[in-house]
């Protein structure tokens, strides 16, 4: 029993040490090269290794060379069992202003090993509140939107693309 406890302790210590020493900024740069293949480029940012997490400040996100959003603060925490990416103070490009309010307060994307077939996300901003669930097995995404007053009043054409739910919110489902 003592041996098992000792072994477990060594494993946890090694994992923590490995996480601490892992070159997170370089790993992030590698992730950027993979994202570039999909047309996504994060630029002008500063990446800071916080030991166990990685912070990205003032990132400019572009998709297929189109500047899409500016992200003030992005935090990546990968603990293996539970992983979370938090984005704060997002300003979407002005071209998006015809479809939804451009200020997003926060987006939290999480993935846990104890629920390996789902990725979930929550977002909050001038558009209201949104919950997203991605089913990796069935390759489906499901969005629930609770629109703000501004969204309900000024962005009706966007909301028309969503299905109205019984509780006054809106839903959107898509297979990918």
């Amino acid at each position: 029993m003592v041996k098992i406890a000792k072994l477990s302790g060594y494993i946890v210590f090694f994992i923590l040490a490995f996480m601490y020493f892992t070159p997170k900024v370089a790993l992030y740069y590698y992730g950027e090269t993979r994202l570039k293949e999909q047309g996504v480029i994060i630029s002008q940012e500063s990446a800071i290794d916080n030991g166990l997490t990685l912070s990205i400040k003032d990132a400019s996100l572009s998709f297929k060379a189109i500047e899409s959003a500016n992200i003030k603060d992005l935090n990546i925490a990968i603990f293996g069992i539970f992983n979370k990416i938090s984005l704060k103070d997002i300003k979407l490009a002005s071209t998006a202003s015809d479809f939804l309010p451009t200020d997003i307060k926060s987006v939290d994307v999480s993935y846990a090993l104890y629920d390996p077939l789902h990725v979930s996300a929550n977002a909050e901003g001038d558009f209201g509140e949104a919950e997203l669930d991605i089913d990796l097995l069935d390759r489906k995404l499901f969005l629930i939107l609770k629109p703000s007053k501004v969204m309900s009043k000024d962005y009706r054409s966007t909301l028309r693309n969503l299905r109205k739910s019984k509780d006054g919110g809106y839903e959107y489902a898509k297979a990918f």
Binding site: F13, F18, P23, K36, Q44, S62, F63
Partner: protein, 269 residues
């Protein structure tokens, strides 16, 4: 000291140190294999001179009126209010403009920056105006409003075969499509056309018959390569035009149809 010298504690500490060294070594190997720099957005601007329509027939006939030394094109006694700015080309400090007198609007002259026309020296070329100087005073001549000749505004099937066709598009329609982009894709399908990794244009793959999009002069299999003189080499180029669509009066697109470049000009009215 006695506790530290305890062999079991020493064994634990040494094991932890070994684990630390292993973790650090692995991380150094990973670091060696990973890129040291991130990806930055580099955009090759598809810059072309600003699109302006010129009446080249007038330009050619007027060129006979320009003296061989066109540094001096003087017609004294003409007021700035009697002049028309028909077109401009170039940057602030280099380029030329096309001017005419209101009394003879078809009799145009080409004036370079630094040249003198009717006693006024051309100082600068702005986005939609030209700055002149006379007797130490500056004068601004604004670009003559570009209007599409009414004889072209009604498109006919005969015109679609011409190299240049001109259409009038309602501003309300533009605003509707800008707010409801989904309606665009209900009526037309466009895909990027790549040669290797580079986008060479955007191909029209479907147009809904009898829709508004069908009246715009585009045909299935047309490849849109330019818009307002900007070579469309990326989605960014296309989106830049789209984002300005509400504020532009004239939109020119160049398409390749049956292997031949054709120009379609839209007056947004």
């Amino acid at each position: 000291m006695q506790k530290l010298s305890n062999p079991s504690i020493l064994k634990i500490i040494s094991t932890l140190l070994i684990l630390l060294v292993i973790a650090k070594s692995i991380s150094l190997v990973i670091l060696y294999m990973l890129p040291s720099d991130g990806v930055e957005l580099s955009v090759e601007e598809s810059y072309q001179p600003k699109y302006q329509r010129y009446d080249f027939k007038n330009m050619l006939s007027s060129s006979q009126n320009i003296s061989k030394d066109n540094k001096e094109v003087v017609q004294s006694g003409i007021s700035m209010t009697n002049m028309l700015l028909k077109g401009l080309y170039g940057t602030e400090k280099s380029g030329f403009i096309i001017v005419a007198l209101k009394s003879k609007p078809t009799n145009t002259s080409i004036v370079e920056v630094g040249d003198i026309y009717s006693g006024y020296q051309l100082l600068k070329i702005k986005k939609s105006s030209a700055i002149f100087m006379k007797n130490s005073k500056k004068y601004t001549l604004n670009l003559d409003d570009l209007k599409v000749d009414s004889k072209y505004s009604k498109s006919s099937s005969n015109q679609t075969d011409e190299m240049v066709s001109q259409k009038v598009v309602s501003k309300n329609d533009i605003e509707h499509y800008a707010k409801n982009p989904k309606d665009i894709w209900k009526e037309i399908s466009i895909i990027e056309l790549k040669e290797g990794k580079e986008i060479k244009g955007f191909k029209v793959t479907r147009i809904k018959p009898n829709s508004k999009m069908a009246t715009l002069g585009l045909k299935k299999n047309d490849i849109i390569i330019k818009a307002n003189n900007v070579v469309l080499k990326s989605y960014r180029d296309a989106l830049n035009i789209y984002s300005k669509i509400k504020n532009i009066k004239l939109l020119q697109i160049v398409v390749i149809r049956d292997g031949i470049e054709r120009e379609i000009v839209y007056e947004i009215d």
